[in-house]
Symmetry: C2
Subunit: 251 residues, 2 copies
């Protein structure tokens, strides 16, 4: 099946606040024939839709295609959802319709779109794939917390914590700023590592940055017993060294 | 001097394309009394202004305060510019005016705003400081190049290359994706490390992502002899492992 001329967009709509959407995202959402909107359950709402619904023309004829992707790292649970999603999107592309797949944050960074971006040219030869970058929570979180992420010569590590943080001590030694995403059950282990390395005053935990229900915790020991919300992040910005204006060790 | 009630915004306006500005950035630029606009020379244009000028009300009474920051890592060259900038901004804040400091990309990530964010509470007690996050080139570049930055269990390192990349081999071993920013004279050394580690097919060089003059180089050996443009980045995304849907080593 050739999909020449058809277009598939990955549209990043930012960390959660509807006014953190870009003009290009809005224009793309309005011109697409189909809006593909991920949600984590058949019965719950779609965060992506809650961000964009006020930006879509009321009464527009475009189709809203809700696609369910369960929150899981288990391939046997995730693959059937993707098979369904690819079949649904593929049917629209085969019919010559343009599809905008909406993702929170940015489509290239830990997003459901990454898989679609990889599969599209194999499944739908000739389809054009375009990415509209969005504000990622990696910078949405420091903005909400009023801290700098990095400056000058500082290096940053971004780590999906749920897959293991046994080497946290070394990460802190080698990187000025460490961003822990997807924390799941590892919140306690991350907090322990922060405490062990004497970095409690350099850490902040933020859940639902820029969204309703935003929560900023500056003494991260308070969340040590929690399971990380899927929109939660821990940022440890050591500020041991910084830009041209700051001396070594000056903070 | 108390600056109670006055507000200083750091406004991220994205990687370069005027339509990658967020609604919140536009609203903030329109309500500020003063737009502070960095540029790299007294005689050249301001990239920040070129991004936002179409979003500001024509004929608006707000002041445009151009501030020159020379491109340099030498504190003796940079400090006098900052002293002038702080004096100029401080005078507006003392007069009760709100100031929006405009930065390309995001204000918390390698931005001139980081220094201002640090100095504001010391110099102008009571001033409110707010950050409007923007699309950073860290995701603007993968969007332009049509690649995924990271997915699933993948880890990312962000490295300002001009300060040294002697440990590039180890970075490639320990991180799935390595983003080299601020490359300056280190382009050649980065390309050598990419080649030495057999990662030429996983690397892309992008200058001026999303801007006029965008340049995407997929065989990075072509740029080995160049000095990195200040808007250039190298992304090496190994894709050795990925999300729940991908097996180890599957690409």
């Amino acid at each position: 099946m050739s999909a020449g001329g058809t277009i598939l967009w990955g549209v990043g709509v930012g960390p959660g606040a509807p006014d953190l959407v870009t003009l290009r995202a809005i224009a793309t959402l309005r011109k697409a024939d189909v809006l593909a909107l991920p949600r984590s359950s058949d019965f719950g709402g779609s965060t992506a839709w809650s961000i964009v619904k006020e930006h879509v023309e009321p009464g527009a004829q475009q189709e809203k295609l809700f696609l369910t992707f369960p929150m899981s790292n288990d391939p046997s649970r995730v693959r059937p959802s993707w098979d369904r999603a690819l079949a649904e999107i593929g049917a629209r592309i085969a019919a010559g319709k343009s599809v905008a797949f909406v993702t929170e944050g940015d489509p290239t960074l830990y997003s459901t779109f990454v898989y679609l971006q990889r599969e599209a040219p194999r499944r739908w030869p000739g389809v054009r794939v375009e990415v509209v970058p969005g504000v990622t929570s990696v910078t949405g979180v420091p903005a909400a917390a009023g801290i700098a992420l990095a400056d000058g010569r500082e290096r940053i590590a971004i780590v999906p914590a749920a897959y293991g943080v046994d080497d946290a001590d070394e990460l802190f030694r080698r990187f000025d700023t460490v961003v822990f995403m997807k924390m799941g059950p590892q919140v306690g282990q991350v907090v322990e590592a922060i405490e062990r390395n004497g970095l409690l005053d350099r850490a902040v935990y933020v859940a639902k940055a820029t969204m309703r229900g935003e929560r900023i915790v500056r003494d991260v020991r308070e969340v040590a017993g929690e399971r990380g919300d899927c929109f939660a992040m821990m940022v440890v910005a050591q500020k041991r060294r910084s830009g041209a204006l700051f001396g070594e060790g000056e903070t």
